[in-house]
Symmetry: C2
Subunit: 139 residues, 2 copies
DNA sequence: ATACAACCTCCAGTAACTGGAGGATCAAGA
DNA sequence: TCTTGATCCTCCAGTTACTGGAGGTTGTAT
């Protein structure tokens, strides 16, 4: 049998912090790790793959709940994959909306930011521009 | 003297939740409100302006700490406005970076999302694509 | 034997609110 | 005057996805 990894090794291999790995175990994204006699966690190849999947998903911006669904699908090979596709598409739409929103914001902010180059705060056009702004709340 | 507003009135006038107004008072963005004999908060025109400024700033994506600096400048008319301009420009750069990051994400996700239209999860290309993804962590 | 790194568990903190419990007060109608 | 319902008060817990630290144990190398 191949030798198992300590939590620090797994952390290095996947670019994850040790505390984060324990956190994933707490919330159930990772199964409870096997322990040595003294209680230290040990990991095998399947754990490395699973954690890598989680990290990649997070890198793509999926939420923990989305990842939970994705992992559940991956764990049951006979289930219908359409759900995974739906999650991905929904997430894509969400990101597109965030981009659009940020672009609106950027344009409004560009107007504000270029309007001033110093002077008395009393006459500051940045502050005036913000005071007069009309933007939908919530970023 | 003009009549003062109850917290609910201020909330309606500025599109802010009552709890949020109290929260801003707690963290010092709004001064401690004057109270009636029975302890209810009352607000005047200056409070309306200040809260509107805060909400507009939030709408533009400024953090509470940034707003704190902006308000400090607005409160002291003799200070140099360059600081406000710097805050705005820094924030603008930040938003541009977030947009760029999200665009990268969107492209990666688009690849993932279109790759599947149902079937066994075991063969799911969405899941495979995520497993094989190489994205910088952190959104 | 003694460092020192790495591990353990538990807990608080982050950002910016939101919602709710439990209780007091106000305005208006009967 | 009484009562009802809206509004207000103060606290406190929960949200997301971790991160960092305290206080203590274990493993390894010299």
């Amino acid at each position: 049998m191949t030798k198992r990894l300590a939590i620090g090794d797994l952390a290095r291999q996947t670019g994850t912090k040790v505390n984060t790995i324990r956190f994933y175990e707490d919330i159930g994204l990772l199964p409870r790790a096997l322990r040595t006699a003294s209680g230290r966690r040990t990991y095998g190849a399947a754990d490395v793959r699973r954690l890598a999947f989680i990290r990649h998903s997070r890198g793509l911006g999926f939420s923990v709940e989305e990842i939970r669904s994705l992992l559940a699908l991956a764990d049951e090979p006979e289930r219908d994959c359409a759900e995974a596709a739906a999650i991905a598409r929904r997430h894509l739409r969400d990101i597109e909306m965030r981009i659009a929103r940020l672009e609106t914001l950027r344009d409004a902010l560009a107007d504000v930011a270029i309007s001033c180059e110093g002077g008395r705060a009393a006459d500051c056009r940045v502050i005036e521009a913000i005071a007069g702004a009309e933007l939908p709340v919530e970023v």
